[in-house]
């Protein structure tokens, strides 16, 4: 911990000063008024991807002079491109190009949910992020008729205002899981594993498990919290089915999502989950985000999402159940182009997490777990520090997310029309519309 005095709730003047400096600075960097910060970015999230996300979040439009399509990881999404039609065959850019997807394909009596875009927000728990960030994402989800997940840290009271757009996550530690929050949920998400740390459970470091966070999780303040892996009551698909029965007894209308990572047998896991009653199979690839994960787990355990989606998609077709289940991809999806590529590889839609944070100012400095200060994110995103969390003001953050999704939807429609498609559902599994590029051709 730093030697500095304990953080206190900041004054209105201080919040005003800091937030304006941050916002003006982001705008200045994206407008080209100043050079791209030399220390910004990495192979997956390049400096231009971060700045283009900021631009989209500020304006709702795509940038002219920044690469908003791909990173430089030299593989996966970064080597895929679209086989666009000749320009004269392009459809007109129009809001008639449909981007909505159905989430309940089982044909049962449960809710028929159809988000306006093939995107919803991934789980980020209370504790890993602040209530301000959670609420901003929830209000934004409501504005866009889509959803966001609570992550595994409970359901702060404020979220009930957006209950129809909040997915309640039930994960292995059962932190903060209550009948009330399950009853409120349109979708209940079972998190079996997380792409950034597959097979290792959850981890909230002590410095971020403050009074309110611990209370929500039924724990002791400032003690590290491990959400063990795996579910201790699940050894088989039959046990998994029992889990689903249990939730459906509490909330008979909720859709069931099963979030898994991407091991070798992920295709079998997906089929098992479907037969256990899942409406949504959510695959979280190895490049996914995290509030805290052992470095060795990132990338080394389980496979990237680009490789898992076609594997599962093809296997579900082979089993004759592809039309009955919604396949959602997450873990390393950064751009509208990535979203379209994931869908072309076989997903129905995607979940975004890191991208939301980048839209709200994240520079991906990797100090979410607390960092040397012990206080968490200096941008106020992945922290519950009473001072730092105020740097994310809800009204501003909601606007940023709304703008960002406007730009994502515009670009998604742009890709669809240039492929001659009028509905995102027509893109699912269309690998014939993709082309693989070698790095030297890019």
């Amino acid at each position: 911990m730093a030697k500095s005095k304990l953080p206190v709730f900041p004054s209105e003047t201080l919040i005003h000063k800091i937030t304006h400096l941050m916002h003006d600075g982001m705008d200045a960097r994206t407008s080209g008024e100043f050079e791209i910060p030399p220390a910004l970015g990495d192979a997956r999230w390049t400096d231009e991807l971060i700045l283009s996300t900021w631009h989209m979040a500020a304006t709702g439009t795509l940038p002219d002079n920044l690469n908003y399509k791909t990173g430089e990881s030299n593989g996966g999404f970064d080597r895929l491109d679209f086989k666009l039609l000749d320009e004269e065959q392009w459809l007109k850019h129009s809001e008639d190009i449909k981007t909505s997807i159905p989430l309940n394909r089982r044909g049962d009596h449960r809710k028929k949910l159809s988000p306006a875009i093939p995107i919803y927000g991934g789980g980020m728990s209370y504790g890993s992020v602040s209530v301000n960030v959670m609420m901003s994402r929830a209000i934004h989800a409501k504005n866009w008729n889509t959803y966001m997940s609570t992550g595994e840290g409970g359901y702060p009271e404020e979220l009930y205002d957006c209950r129809d757009h909040v997915i309640t996550q039930v994960a292995t530690g059962l932190f903060g899981v209550e009948e009330k929050s399950i009853q409120a949920a349109p979708i209940v998400e079972f998190k079996y594993a997380q792409g950034a740390k597959p097979g290792l459970g959850g981890h909230l470091l002590a410095s971020k498990a403050g009074e309110e966070v611990a209370k929500m999780r039924g724990s002791v303040p400032f003690v590290s919290l491990f959400s063990p892996f795996p579910f201790h009551s699940t050894y088989s698909v039959e046990d998994h089915s029992k889990h689903i029965d249990w939730v459906q007894t509490i909330n008979p209308d909720a859709l069931i999502s099963v979030k898994v990572s991407t091991p070798h047998d992920v295709d079998m896991v997906a089929v098992g989950s479907y037969y256990a009653g899942a409406h949504i199979i959510h695959l979280d690839g190895g490049f996914g985000g995290t509030g805290a994960a052992p470095e060795i787990a990132k990338k080394n355990i389980a496979m990237p999402i680009e490789l898992a989606v076609p594997k599962v998609h093809k296997f579900l077709i082979k089993e004759g159940i592809r039309e009955n289940v919604t396949l959602i991809a997450s873990g390393g999806i950064r751009t509208a182009d990535d979203i379209a590529k994931a869908i072309a590889l076989g997903a129905d839609g995607v979940v975004l997490g890191t991208s939301d944070l980048v839209a709200m100012g994240c520079t991906r400095c990797s100090n979410c777990e607390g960092g040397p200060s012990g206080r968490g994110c200096p941008w106020g995103l992945t922290t519950t520090d009473i001072e730092l969390q105020e740097w994310v003001q809800q009204e501003w953050a909601v606007k940023r997310l709304d703008n960002y999704y406007t730009a994502l939807q515009w670009r998604l429609r742009d890709i669809l029309r240039k492929l001659g498609l009028s509905d995102v559902k027509e893109l699912v599994g269309r690998t014939d519309l993709l082309v693989y590029t070698r790095s030297d051709l890019k």
Partner: protein, 503 residues
């Protein structure tokens, strides 16, 4: 209640010498003693500060005029609200020195970039080229920084946000390890409630037992020893190894319960014989192995010579004799010859970039060697070690998956004690190492112990994710690995332009 009967006649047990059965009180006491005497293997790590710190990650440049201008304007704008005037855009203390931003402290910068975003006109953060140029293309600055942190803290590096690097290969990056989604034998092993073993056996196990018609065992039993971790400490380049380093290697190996492989000359001249020390003999000096019997469990022959090996084994029947061999062209024939001659511990060597046999990466060569022995039906009769190219925590389980029993570490140990390498660092012999000017042996030993503690814990993370309870079962478990190029082939083969996975 089985313990009650089991203890009958056990003269060493309190209360059992003159009674056929224990009372409940005695039983409870016995149970307590047994429980208290249980020692679960653990590496004691202690945070051990730097002696020769790495260059800072970032350089911080603040324009003095711009800062002064900002201060003056804010003093007027926020007069009296000093908390607002002096609020600094850094929670890590870069601007918390006596004169704030006028003399920033770059050693505290973690690269959040808040300062340069908030004040783009006069604050610049740049990656420090002095750090980025450390190491070489294989043992690069990122790996060096990670080892440095592991040796300092002795913990598993944990960070927020996701992966930041390349999609797949080359080298070890070509492999992803598998995990089990729900079914696994070790529930919560990594968090301490159950044991995941990292013990490996060094030596030879018979492939089968033979009995005579009377039912008596007639074949030899296993000849092996166990070490607590799947790595040994290998000797660095001859010009770098010194009696002092050898002593540090030995002490750390004893503390961790592994082996330190050290030149026999250094061992002899510095009285370093120990069960944890493996003296290495050249082919022309093996005869002096006789003098290393006191406590020494294994010796190593540096190179293959059938007659030398035969002579060494016949004159030292109680010693385990390992042989070091390079993966040079024709290594397959040499390996077969060594196995036929009964060598039970074979220590492969590649260069420091993990290249051998005409530039092949060791991952493929190790797999080939392992499968050769499997095919010959002798895999358990031989222990395979390897040195060269294993420089990060994730390389360790990956090398074992390829078929090794244990790995030899040398360069990571030098990096742990903050040596700066130069020269031809790809070569095992043509590099130099500059050690910190001042350090004591205890410090160096603890840094190495910390590194091993961190790497072992990271191994547990991998094993835990797979649901494997002991590292011995990971050896050659290629079904627990996924190769990026194979997966790409499976995923992308229908896509136009795809001509094969990999880099």
């Amino acid at each position: 209640m089985q313990l009650l009967n089991k203890l009958e006649g056990d003269q060493t047990m309190i209360g059992a010498s003159d009674k056929s059965r224990l009372t409940m009180t005695e039983f409870a006491k016995e149970s307590r003693i047994r429980a208290d005497s249980y020692h679960r293997y653990h590496i004691d790590t202690i945070e051990t500060p730097d002696r020769q710190s790495l260059p800072n990650r970032f350089l911080v440049s603040v324009g003095k005029f711009g800062l002064a201008k900002l201060l003056v304007s804010e003093i007027f704008e926020y007069w009296g609200k000093w908390d607002v005037v002096f609020a600094r855009p850094c929670t890590y203390g870069v601007f918390s020195g006596p004169v704030g931003g006028f003399s920033p402290r770059p050693e505290k910068c973690v690269g959040c970039l808040r300062c340069t975003i908030e004040h783009p006109g006069f604050v610049t953060i740049t990656p420090n080229p002095a750090l980025e140029t450390l190491g070489d293309s294989y043992l690069n600055s990122k790996i060096i920084s990670t080892i440095d942190e592991e040796a300092r803290k002795g913990t598993v590096p944990v960070r927020g946000q996701g992966y930041r690097g390349r999609f797949g290969g080359p080298g070890w990056d070509e492999m992803f390890t598998d995990m089990s989604e729900i079914v696994r034998p070790s529930r919560d092993g990594i968090h301490g409630r159950e044991l995941i073993s990292t013990i490996v056996d060094i030596g030879s196990k018979p492939m089968r037992l033979q009995f005579d018609s009377e039912g008596s065992l007639v074949s030899a039993g296993p000849k092996m020893m166990s070490i607590q971790v799947p790595f040994v400490f290998d000797s660095p380049a001859g010009s770098v190894m010194s009696p002092r380093l050898a002593k540090i290697w030995k002490t750390a190996a004893e503390q961790v319960d592994t082996l330190a492989l050290i030149s026999a000359d250094i061992v002899a001249s510095n009285n370093l014989e120990s069960p944890s020390v493996v003296p290495i003999f050249s082919l022309d000096s093996f005869e002096s192995a006789n003098s290393f019997k006191n406590g020494t469990r294994m010796v190593q022959l540096d190179g293959w010579g059938a007659s030398e090996y035969e002579s060494m084994t016949s004159s030292n029947p109680d010693l385990m004799i390992s042989v070091r061999m390079s993966f040079e062209e024709g290594w397959q024939d040499q390996l077969s010859e060594m196995v036929d001659a009964g060598v039970s511990v074979i220590h492969f060597v590649a260069n420091n970039h993990g290249e051998a046999d005409g530039g092949r990466f060791i991952m493929d060569i190790i797999i080939e060697a392992h499968e050769m022995l499997l095919k010959a039906g002798v895999r358990d009769k031989v222990t395979l070690l390897h040195s060269g190219g294993v420089v990060a925590a994730d390389h360790l389980p990956k090398a074992i998956i390829c078929g090794l029993d244990a790995v030899g570490l040398d360069l990571p140990l030098l990096i742990a004690i903050q040596a700066r390498l130069s020269g031809d660092t790809s070569s095992r012999e043509r590099y130099t190492a500059k050690l910190p000017k001042k350090f004591d042996d205890k410090w160096a030993c603890q840094r190495i112990v910390n590194l091993t503690g961190s790497w072992r814990d990271q191994m547990l993370e991998i094993l835990g994710a797979m649901g494997i309870r002991e590292v011995r079962r990971l050896r050659g478990e290629m079904g627990r690995a996924m190769w990026c190029s194979h997966l790409e082939e499976e995923a992308f083969s229908e896509i136009e332009g795809f001509t094969g996975g990999g880099i």
